[in-house]
């Protein structure tokens, strides 16, 4: 390579770099703009909604929209339902996944491989395919319009079992043996020794489970037909039907519904990325 060649090559590289950087920033702004618009709309007074050209930022910031919107529907109840379902489902998912992961990663039993493959295979069944029979089963169990109806269908997470199993394989068996020699039962070994070791993997699983359940819509929509059992997402869709003409109020409740997800995302961003990269299975 001659010197002139490297020089011009370098120049092209710098130029290309700036171009790429500009492109990247523009795309990123476009990506985030809808959220900006959501907040902006939420804080606009009614008379600024239908204006051309629209104000990018409201001239008069209506913080009162947030409380006004929140109190124009039973949103406290929706929030309570969502929080309850999310917490219970996430906790049970973590427990079942860690138990399952330990069973596959730290024990040997006949039929283990086939069972593991079967559980992963179940992951391939789209839940939309089992919508009707699952509805009928829950109807038969008299679990329509109950929290358990939503929870029971969402707690089993083959992805979680897979994640814990992978993680368990890196933990030496000696730890369990030592606990057993000290007189721990199998359950105590799991609870006292293995569970604390799983913190990182359970953290990843917890945030995925949290967002999945917080955002979940289709299943609660089908199971809950009494308004006091609606989750936040179902309640939002219902509220939309009544307040079509007030996008500011609709966006105001939307902002409140997104905030918990945003907070969890900002706090645990690293785990989201790790979780996806770990398996590539979670969308």
């Amino acid at each position: 390579m001659n010197r002139i060649g490297t020089f011009s090559n370098g120049k092209v590289k710098v130029l290309g770099r700036y171009l790429a950087y500009t492109l990247l920033i523009c795309t990123a702004i476009t990506t985030i703009f809808p959220f900006f618009w959501m907040v902006s709309t939420a804080l606009k007074p009614d008379n600024e909604l239908y204006r051309f050209p629209p104000n990018l930022v409201p001239k008069k910031v209506m913080w009162s929209n947030l409380s006004k919107a929140w109190s124009s529907g039973p949103f406290n109840r929706y929030l309570f339902n969502t929080v309850l379902i999310t917490i219970i489902t996430t906790s049970i998912t973590l427990l079942l996944s860690s138990l399952g992961g330990v069973a596959f990663g730290k024990y040997k039993f006949p039929g283990q491989k086939i069972l593991f493959a079967a559980i992963l295979g179940v992951m391939m069944i789209p839940p939309q395919v089992t919508l009707v029979p699952n509805y009928l089963i829950l109807r038969g169990l008299r679990a329509l319009n109950t929290y358990w109806g939503v929870i029971a269908v969402s707690v089993v997470n083959p992805f979680g079992i897979f994640l814990v199993r992978q993680y368990m394989q890196s933990i030496p068996d000696e730890l369990m043996d030592a606990a057993r020699i000290d007189g721990c039962s199998e359950w105590m070994t799991f609870w006292r020794i293995l569970l604390p070791l799983m913190k990182p993997v359970l953290g990843t699983l917890a945030i995925f489970s949290f967002t999945d359940n917080w955002n979940s819509f289709m299943w609660p929509l089908i199971i809950m037909d009494r308004q006091e059992m609606y989750t936040l997402q179902v309640g939002l869709a219902f509220f939309r039907g009544q307040h079509m003409a007030y996008p500011n109020l609709l966006m105001a409740v939307n902002v409140v519904a997104i905030i918990p997800v945003l907070v969890v995302f900002l706090l645990f961003q690293k785990y989201f990325v790790q979780g996806i990269q770990l398996t590539g299975l979670k969308g």
């Binding site: 770099r17 204006r51 939309q128 043996d177 590539g280």
Partner: protein, 303 residues
């Protein structure tokens, strides 16, 4: 016996373990019961229901292939099938290509990388219903911000969600926006797994950055592309929330999708058998698509 060689099975030998062999079964029992009740039994039951007439208030009645014959003559079903296909074809390539491009750009050591990555990723975890409501407002024909922008640059407003010509496109735009970040993260993981020595060697041979991308990055990323393609396709074929919120399947049936039709048949018309037949078609499509993609891209990796 070398203790560090890991398969120190708890079952082998020692007497204190003998009664512990049921432990893993006990640990798995709740999971298995739930999987059986809410995944495996429903799958077979759904298969059976597809051959019945079941208006919910009366017990199911076996009617053979009648549901499938009805499907063949149902214009709504064909519209759903066509829209679902359009949706897959229209959203999968852009989300993968854009996700890949963003990942390539973000794979360099640049200022604010983590912030940019977070900006691209946030739509992925934002609630689908919330962002659908948001985009519905942005797509509003008269007052939506998108048409305002078009008007500002002198273009005519587009009746995004109120015309059967544009509604599906609008839903697709929103869906691509929502999923670019996911593909980006998957591709970034793949890119970080490629050893820099390949690029160094190529540079010594005088390859430019396009050639590096074309002949090193792309072939090495093929398994990741496959993964992204399969998962994106499967997810696209199940599109529901966006359509339910933004258009309700309309105008006409222009945005009706298969899952939307399953929902309508089952929970609005209470035709459980017919809904199961549509579910079965959906399931078949998902399976066929996965197999084709694995086969096609799987073979190419052997080259």
């Amino acid at each position: 016996m070398n203790k560090s060689a890991k398969s120190l099975s708890p079952i082998r030998g020692s007497s204190w373990l003998r009664n512990k062999q049921y432990t893993p079964i006990a640990f798995l029992a709740p999971t298995l019961v739930l999987l059986l009740t809410f995944a495996i039994i429903p799958m077979f039951w759904g298969l059976g229901l597809a051959f019945t007439e079941y208006p919910l208030l009366q017990p199911p009645r076996f009617i053979g292939l009648e549901n499938f014959r009805r499907l063949m003559d149902d214009p709504v079903f064909w519209a759903s099938l066509r829209n679902t296909c359009y949706y897959i074809i229209g959203t999968v390539p852009p989300r993968i290509i854009l996700g890949f491009v963003v990942a390539l750009l973000l794979n360099q050591a640049i200022l604010g990388r983590n912030l940019l990555r977070a900006m691209f990723y946030f739509p992925v975890i934002a609630p689908l219903v919330s962002v659908s409501l948001l985009w519905q407002w942005m797509f509003n024909t008269h007052f939506g911000v998108i048409n305002s922008l078009l008007r500002l640059i002198g273009l005519a407003p587009v009746p995004w969600l109120t015309s059967s010509k544009y509604a599906l496109t609008a839903v697709m735009i929103m869906s691509v926006w929502k999923t670019i970040g996911w593909n980006m993260v998957v591709f970034l993981a793949g890119l970080q797994g490629i050893s820099p020595s390949y690029y160094e060697a190529a540079q010594i041979d005088g390859a430019n950055s396009w050639q590096c991308t074309r002949y090193i990055t792309l072939p090495l990323l093929r398994p990741i592309v496959l993964l992204a393609l399969v998962i994106s396709t499967i997810n696209s074929s199940k599109v529901f929330e966006q359509v339910y919120i933004m258009t309700g399947g309309g105008p006409g049936y222009s945005t009706m999708t298969l899952v939307q039709q399953v929902y309508h048949s089952a929970f609005q018309s209470y035709e459980m058998g017919y809904a199961s037949a549509i579910s079965l078609v959906l399931f078949a499509i998902v399976m066929v698509l996965s197999v084709i993609q694995f086969k096609y891209l799987g073979d190419r990796t052997d080259e």
